[in-house]
Subunit: 111 residues, 4 copies
């Protein structure tokens, strides 16, 4: 994880791309990549989507899009000085309180 | 990273939410959270966006949204059987070939 | 349609919001609203999604989100000097050529 | 507007694409197209973004992406039985009450 952060940062710095990697631009790029990921799933039935990784071509595209999303998320967090795993674990602890197991069980009211 | 994957999975399984956590649904939820992240930046000037983390309230909201995005990305990758860090590193190696340092330096033609 | 463009423009100008309504900011706001729209559908089964408008509360939320998306799309097109209906009709004519009826019939290869 | 709705509907029906045009799928496709629109703006400075339409190539791409977004928004609204212009005007009237001119003037607290 830290390794990924460092590699993505080096990748950007070697190319003098820090000037483009502002928080607004990176947030837009992240959303653009999520859009490409959605496009892989949009016309699939739920059943087709569940087995997409067993299709070599579609599976490779999904993996590549997931990789792109992760790259920009890592870079955005780095630029903002946020520890990605820590932010996720902190938030997970908060939602665990908000959705206690006994009340949330099997309900999609929220998620 | 693996720890996060395991915790997010446990969180979902304790609540019987596997039934909702299909690839299509998780991709939509990921996009929804990215939308909330964009909303934190949309009216800021580039200068305000660059220092957003020094504002306690806005900074906390950005951190929480980044956490949400990471939670859903982790969960989606887990459901698809994709190693998130590996997918990002593989993709990074590919774009490094596509954008050689000497040609890409300082240019935003692509990113 | 023109009426909507004029009303949205007046709404922004009365509030001196032209300064915030740059193409980048409006594109981000548009994406943010689409994210809220996705959130209305993300945990619904295909069957629940198909009848969402017959649920008074969920239906009202979906209608409001669709309205928000249309407001920002109208405003973005206006700021860019693009005629929204014309842009859609032009694009529709192009995709009609790209997906001839006899070849595209019943196939989701693309859409 | 109604003309566009009818043309987009005819386009889908001629190709037997109603089966793919569920609310969930169309919301995903809409988000995917908005992602492509964001990608046109993500690396531009605010100044470059403001004059993007005077660049023939980039301008044509932006117009085409705006067209795609409008096509899917029109189709989604049609499938849900929502009048797009009416939904936008109703929502605009609501936000006008929420952001009175004298209080909202020049402030980006919300938008």
């Amino acid at each position: 994880m830290q390794d990924l952060t460092i590699q993505v940062r080096a990748f950007a710095e070697e190319r003098d791309w820090q000037q483009f990697h502002t928080p607004k631009n990176l947030a837009m790029a992240l959303a653009g990549e999520v859009g490409e990921l959605l496009a892989e799933f949009q016309w699939l039935t739920p059943e087709q989507a569940a087995t997409v990784m067993s299709d070599p071509e579609a599976g490779a595209r999904v993996r590549a899009e997931i990789g792109d999303v992760m790259i920009y998320l890592t870079r955005l967090a780095d630029v903002l000085g946020i520890d990605l795993a820590e932010a996720a674990l902190t938030k997970l602890a908060e939602v665990a309180v908000r959705y206690p197991v006994d009340q949330a069980k099997g309900s999609a009211t929220k998620r």
